[in-house]
């Protein structure tokens, strides 16, 4: 149909190495990018600020986490803590007088340094034990942030982000904050798609598939795992800073709690491990679907269609969220990315049945 191909046939190595091998995919990406950049012009500020902006930022966070979980295969249940380190570091650096652009990079580096310590656990254990170790780290970082007044600004305090400008554009209006977040998410997306083609990315995949087999063919598991934690934590730290400056604008420790870590893992799994489009779809799905369904049910309840109590309604987002995780794991373990891939493959060779690639 719109792909106008009966499969993917390349005539040169250059064509085979392209990021988007089929012209229709390339045009779709360009169209989506134009739509995303122009979003402040045609999306109402309410929807832009409370749905599109968080979606973009959480997609960046999911991309950071899926580098670690999807490519390198290291489970991480304390990623919100890494983001918290980035967020708090950037705020304190800017207050200290560091320019915002530099503070973003530095907060990423600080998060990478501390995040690599998390990775120290990965050198010794994996699987369930790595989950537990990162979970314990999450609680430790939470405790330090809450109980050191120099970081959190006192117990139960909210820390307002100072006013900053990025490359001489003040990060104040909704559109400016959205464009900064979108820019960072696009940078991460491009980075992620290319890292899969570098020797580093292939080393990560080798470690994921079997670490001692990777060691046999000359990939150093020690170095590669630490690099994976450092890279992913750097990306997560900057995303945390972006989240603080562009979305929350007043930071409390609860915004980076254990539940947020679980939400991130859910985004990565629902989207599909190690997939770029999966991170975007998964973040949007996990973030927006409970809100959407709760609105539907409360609308029905208000109209008298379904008899549910107020108490039930207030617990509905949790139920939908849990049911969504279970449903995806049972019915489509490869996530939304696989669903998208199935649809795309169907239309790739339509009206024929089978794609060759």
């Amino acid at each position: 149909m719109f792909y106008r191909l009966s499969g993917t046939y390349h005539t040169s190595y250059a064509a085979d190495r392209k990021l988007w091998k089929i012209p229709a995919d390339r045009w779709m990406v360009i169209l989506l990018l134009i739509l995303a950049v122009l979003a402040p012009l045609y999306v109402s500020p309410l929807y832009l600020g409370s749905y599109v902006l968080p979606w973009v930022i959480w997609s960046a966070a999911a991309l950071s986490l899926t580098l670690l979980m999807g490519l390198a295969g290291q489970l991480h249940f304390g990623f919100a803590a890494v983001m918290a380190i980035g967020a708090y570091a950037s705020i304190h650096l800017v207050r200290f007088g560091v320019p915002f652009e530099l503070a973003l990079l530095l907060s990423g580096l600080i998060a990478a340094a501390i995040g690599t310590v998390f990775g120290g656990a990965a050198l010794r254990v994996k699987g369930l034990y790595l989950v537990m170790a990162t979970l314990a780290m999450q609680y430790l970082v939470d405790w330090v942030v809450v109980n050191v007044p120099a970081i959190s600004g006192g117990a139960h305090a909210t820390l307002r982000t100072p006013e900053v400008s990025f490359l001489f554009v003040p990060v104040e209006s909704l559109a400016a904050r959205y464009w900064l977040a979108l820019g960072w998410a696009v940078v991460l997306t491009v980075f992620f798609m290319n890292v899969k083609r570098t020797s580093f990315g292939r080393a990560l995949v080798a470690i994921r598939d079997k670490d001692f087999a990777a060691a046999v063919i000359g990939v150093d598991p020690f170095r590669t795992k630490l690099m994976a934690f450092a890279t992913s934590s750097f990306m997560g730290g900057v995303t945390g800073a972006i989240l603080a400056y562009c979305f929350y604008r007043a930071v409390t420790p609860e915004q980076f709690g254990f539940n947020v870590s679980i939400q991130l893992v859910a985004m990565v799994l629902v989207g599909g491990l190690g997939s770029v489009i999966g991170s975007w779809l998964g973040a949007g799905f996990v973030l927006l679907m409970p809100i959407f369904l709760t609105n539907v049910v409360s609308g029905l309840a208000a109209g008298g269609w379904v008899p549910v109590s107020q108490n039930f309604l207030s617990h509905l987002p949790l139920m939908i969220y849990g049911a969504m995780i279970i449903g995806f794991l049972l019915l489509e373990p490869l996530g939304l990315a696989k669903i998208y891939d199935n649809i795309r493959k169907y239309f790739l060779v339509w009206p024929f049945r089978h794609a060759r690639s």
């Binding site: 656990a121 537990m132 609680y139 405790w143 109980n147 001692f212 108490n311 969220y321 995780i325 279970i326």
Partner: protein
């Protein structure tokens, strides 16, 4: 000194009550190899079911066996509908599935039965027992005794014919199939037993702090107990429980006033981390963790 003794005793008893929660985790891990992160929510569901049965007007000694029967069936259903389909999947899938179950139950059960804390009256006197100048909470005392009794019963159970089957399944699934043991039924039964352990934990914790969603937060100390004692060891549950309880009570008892509270979570986290760093298989666990 009296302060220290009191912290020590109340810590040990609290720790034994943690081991009630941890026992369910170990029962499932031992036979199925599944890390059940929904054990906290299972305890919460059990607490709600005890409350529900008692709200029908039944006395305690009928209510608890009835709730145990309900939770046994619930465990069987969870295994049949969810976990059986995850056989052979990577551990992250199983971990996330149980976490999804935890989130679902935390929404569903309080959503239907009400989220205000529900009292459970087990007929335990609230006045503490006083020995010398040490006060002992009666609920914790009975909880500790119940934990020891349940762990003893589990140890005996693993010597029966059915228990031997479960041990065989925990050793090797394929070999158990080969000698004619129904692995699926064995794993289902272990989920049911975890449900029964959850009823005891839910009733005792519910009577000491009321039944609401916060019961599911017991998962975190229970995980520390399990990691410290060894994920596949039942005696480890008692030793790990007492250690986690004592350290998690004595250290905050002296430190909380200096650093501003909630050091208990920090102690629990550090126990998990240090155990994983020093001896990942725990005190009594079998040393078969894959190393690089």
């Amino acid at each position: 000194m009296a302060y220290f003794l009191e912290l020590l005793i109340s810590g040990a008893l609290t720790g034994l009550m943690y081991s009630l929660v941890a026992l369910g985790f170990v029962l499932i891990y031992k036979s199925a190899g599944v890390p059940n992160l929904a054990q906290g929510a299972l305890v919460m569901t059990a607490g709600y079911s005890v409350w529900m049965v008692m709200a029908w007007g039944l006395p305690v000694w009928i209510a608890i066996p009835l709730a145990a029967a309900i939770m046994f069936g619930f465990g069987l259903i969870v295994e049949r509908l969810l976990l059986r389909r995850m056989v052979g999947q990577p551990v992250i899938m199983v971990v996330m599935l149980t976490l999804g179950l935890e989130i679902l139950l935390r929404g569903l059960v309080p959503g239907i039965l009400g989220s205000t804390p529900k009292p459970i009256d087990l007929g335990i006197d609230f006045a503490p027992i006083i020995i010398g100048d040490v006060f002992i909470n009666r609920t914790s005392l009975y909880g500790g005794i119940a934990a020891l009794a349940l762990v003893g019963a589990s140890l005996l159970f693993f010597r029966t014919r059915l228990g031997t089957k479960l041990r065989a399944v925990s050793d090797d699934h394929v070999s158990s199939w080969a000698v004619g043991i129904s692995v699926e039924r064995a794993i289902g039964i272990s989920w049911g037993l975890a449900g029964i352990a959850a009823v005891v934990a839910g009733a005792l914790w519910g009577s000491s702090q009321g039944v609401d969603w916060t019961l599911s937060m017991l998962l975190f100390p229970a995980v520390a107990v399990v990691i410290l004692g060894g994920v596949d060891s039942i005696p480890g549950v008692v030793v790990g429980g007492i250690l986690v309880g004592v350290l998690g009570t004595v250290i905050p008892g002296y430190l909380d006033s200096f650093v501003g509270g909630s050091t208990r979570d920090v102690v629990t986290s550090l126990i998990i981390l240090l155990t994983i760093m020093v001896r990942p298989f725990g005190i009594f666990g079998r040393e078969d963790i894959e190393r690089i």
